[in-house]
């Protein structure tokens, strides 16, 4: 009895989905006028599994942006619909849901994925289908892709804000510990490039598998090398154990990071003083004291009173959804090729972190980067602030997506001798 009923409802659900899909497709083909199109955004962010801690704020902030847009009349006079399943931190599920979002749900734009591994898993599907895609995590950089817009700060932007600050304040001997996968390896390459540009030296490096929870030997190795500061590019729940262990072992050398606190809010979760004297280069932490940010923070917690933190990626989802809406209004349709062309002209964006801008030819953002310091009570203060543009693709590689169609990820080792670890 109940089985029969659910079968019926599923069929009618499919029929509705098909009708919506058909309408969206018709809209795309005719490039129709305002008030007649359906706008559907795909929001595929982890709410369970390994990355739930980082993905949940991304999902929340996306829903907040969409709710605010809908209150103001939606996009092109239409209420925004969402396709927002939980990918469960599983890359195979990401592939399946990405295909579903594109082929069955006909989403007009897609926000998906936390880790670089996830992005690289779904990017071929996105490129094959010429799907407009926003990747919002801070990442290693170098993705020059006609259909992908990278909204997070790149390693060169994040490290480029904190590393010069560390060199200036603590000295020139750097020890890098980094997560052992594509993001960590490439970020460590960037530490070497930036060290060279700032007349500093990387005196030691250790790559740590994501499964490692025991840092006794790593701490001893750092003590042995005796650096002026450590660059800690650690990722994930297992690596979070490093902070308690380093504090308990009495390792008090200052540490810079591009990964900790702004994503996994370790300063809120760990007992002080675990994160004392950690300096991060980020485009966002919820503690930014500006009025604009504090208003955003109170709107967020009004909608999600039980939420734990607003991380860097959440804010990137938030402003990029608003940015997409403005591009669609400017074009007058949800035609993806037209919107990409519009975005490639560049755009000034008013974001919670400050006034920033889209660098159209490379599909990346010029971010308002700050150096945040965590003290022994886990209070966050802003130590430094500057606008930093994406430089690797725009200046070093010479990527220009307005002129050339591309789907490449460039790596620093092909352009900088210091980044090529095999030459040492």
């Amino acid at each position: 009895m109940s089985g029969k009923r659910s079968g019926l409802s599923r069929r009618s659900f499919l029929a509705t989905g098909g009708a919506i899909g058909g309408a969206a497709l018709a809209g795309c083909l005719t490039g129709g006028g305002s008030g007649e199109e359906t706008v559907k955004l795909g929001i595929i962010e982890d709410r369970s599994g390994n990355f739930a801690l980082n993905g949940t704020p991304k999902y929340n902030a996306s829903m907040l942006a969409i709710e605010e847009l809908n209150e103001e009349g939606g996009i092109l006079g239409n209420e925004i619909e969402t396709f927002a399943p939980d990918p469960q931190s599983d890359n195979q599920r990401y592939q399946q849901l990405t295909r579903q979002a594109i082929n069955e749900e006909n989403v007009d734009a897609l926000w998906a994925g936390y880790s670089s591994a996830t992005r690289e898993t779904i990017r071929p599907i996105i490129d094959q289908n010429e799907q407009l895609y926003f990747y919002t995590t801070q990442y290693e950089g170098g993705v020059c892709d006609s259909y992908t817009f990278c909204m997070g700060a790149t390693a060169r932007q994040q490290l480029g804000s904190v590393l010069p600050y560390m060199v200036e304040n603590f000295g020139t001997d750097i020890y890098t510990i980094a997560a052992d996968y594509n993001f960590g390896q490439l970020s460590a390459d960037w530490v070497r490039v930036l060290a060279d540009e700032n007349d500093a030296n990387v005196i030691g490096e250790e790559f740590i598998p994501l499964s490692v929870t025991d840092f006794g030997s790593t701490i001893n190795n750092i003590q042995d090398a005796d650096p002026d500061f450590v660059m800690a590019l650690l990722v994930g729940a297992n690596h979070t154990s490093f902070w308690n262990q380093r504090t308990s072992a009495g390792l008090d050398v200052p540490m810079g990071t591009s990964t900790v606190m702004a994503q996994g809010y370790q300063h809120k979760r760990l007992d002080p003083p675990a994160m004392a004297n950690v300096y991060g280069g980020f485009n966002y932490m919820e503690e930014i004291p500006t009025d604009r940010n504090q208003e955003f923070v109170s709107r967020y917690y009004e909608k999600f009173p039980d939420a734990a933190y607003i991380n860097e990626e959440a804010v990137n989802n938030y402003f990029s959804i608003k940015m997409y809406a403005r591009a669609a209004e400017a074009v007058g349709s949800t035609n993806q090729a037209d919107i990409i062309e519009e975005l490639e002209k560049g755009m000034d964006v008013s974001a919670p972190e400050g006034d920033i801008s889209l660098q159209g030819p490379v599909h990346h953002m010029t971010h308002n980067m700050r150096v945040f310091r965590c003290d022994e009570d886990h209070t966050i203060t802003v130590e430094d602030e500057q606008q930093i543009s994406e430089q690797f693709l725009s200046e070093t590689v010479g990527c220009n997506l307005r002129e050339n169609e591309e789907t490449t990820q460039y790596v620093p080792a092909d352009y900088y001798e210091e980044a090529d670890a095999t030459q040492e």
């Binding site: 739930a52 790559f207 025991d214 006794g216 030997s217 001893n220 308690n244 072992a249 007992d271 039980d306």
Partner: protein, 291 residues
């Protein structure tokens, strides 16, 4: 290479392998049930400890609560689910794996993606330019105490003799008046309590999140497989072997090679010694006695 560094790292690694494996080893060795939810039992112990400590309990009391909560959970699960799965090896693996998934997601739903963490007590031991967390080093004597306690329990008490009789020949044990059902329940509860103890001990030094159980699983299974059929001796020997190899390789070449060396050791031991380290001990002893 600094000798004290190596010694402390060995202590740390030995304790981790032994404590990760001991609950699994008792349940597998005594009952033949492979508990794939073992890591999640450890996670429950860590949650019990951290939540009690956050509620104001002193750390030792919080740890006792963590152990108790896991033991009670083990009791309930044994009575409702596990006792149907004795002598059904593959069924028990699937069922306990599912239990692990339910526990992970259940804790996520109940307490969120993260809870406030407890900091590591007892400070550090400083020597020259180096220092090591006192708490992590003290886990070695704790691991040895646990092994010693289990040895006494299973060889020197009436309960131990009944439990071992139940394992070796349940029919004869029943004929002699041993309540074998109760023995199985008690053994499973002891295994659960040991997992809870591991969680309690590591709660102040690892990140307590719903998925933390998986970080114990590799060491636990490798230790049990390398150890072989004799539970206590096997866990001790594999803790010693794997702890040494991990400490030496990590110290010389970094954590990445430490992990590789440990897995290679497991492969070699499984290939060369199909009955694990205790199988080797048995063979040597038989040969010596035969001469």
């Amino acid at each position: 290479m600094n000798a004290l560094n190596l010694l402390f790292q060995f202590a740390d690694n030995f304790a981790f392998v032994v404590l990760a494996a001991v609950g699994l080893a008792v349940i597998f060795g005594m009952m033949g049930v492979i508990n794939l939810g073992h890591g999640e039992f450890i996670m429950i112990g860590a949650y019990g400890t951290t939540l009690s400590a956050n509620a104001g309990a002193p750390l030792p009391v919080a740890m006792a609560i963590g152990v108790l909560v896991t033991a009670v959970m083990g009791l309930i699960l044994e009575r409702t689910i596990i006792h149907r799965l004795y002598d059904r090896l593959f069924d028990s693996m699937v069922a306990t794996w599912a239990l692990g998934l339910i526990l992970t997601q259940g804790m996520r739903i109940l307490f969120g993606n993260s809870i406030p963490q407890v900091s590591t007590p007892l400070g550090n031991i400083a020597y020259g330019e180096f220092s090591y967390s006192t708490y992590r080093v003290l886990l070695l004597p704790v691991a040895l105490l646990v092994l010693g306690g289990l040895y006494v329990l299973f060889t020197r008490t009436e309960f131990g003799i009944r439990a071992r009789a139940t394992i070796q020949d349940p029919d004869t044990a029943r004929a002699l008046g041993v309540d074998t059902d109760r023995m199985y329940t008690a053994t499973f509860v002891i295994g659960s309590a040991l997992a809870g103890l591991t969680g309690a001990l590591y709660a102040p030094t690892l990140t307590v999140v719903p998925g933390m159980g998986s970080s114990f699983l590799v060491e636990a299974f490798v230790a049990v497989v390398v150890g072989g059929p004799s539970v206590l001796l096997g866990t001790t020997l594999s803790g010693g072997l794997l702890g040494t190899i991990d400490a030496v390789f990590t110290n010389l070449f970094g954590t990445f090679y430490g992990q590789i060396a440990m897995l290679l050791t497991a492969i070699v031991v499984i290939r060369v010694l199909s009955d694990g380290l205790t199988g080797l001990v048995e063979t040597v002893r038989n040969r010596v006695e035969g001469e």
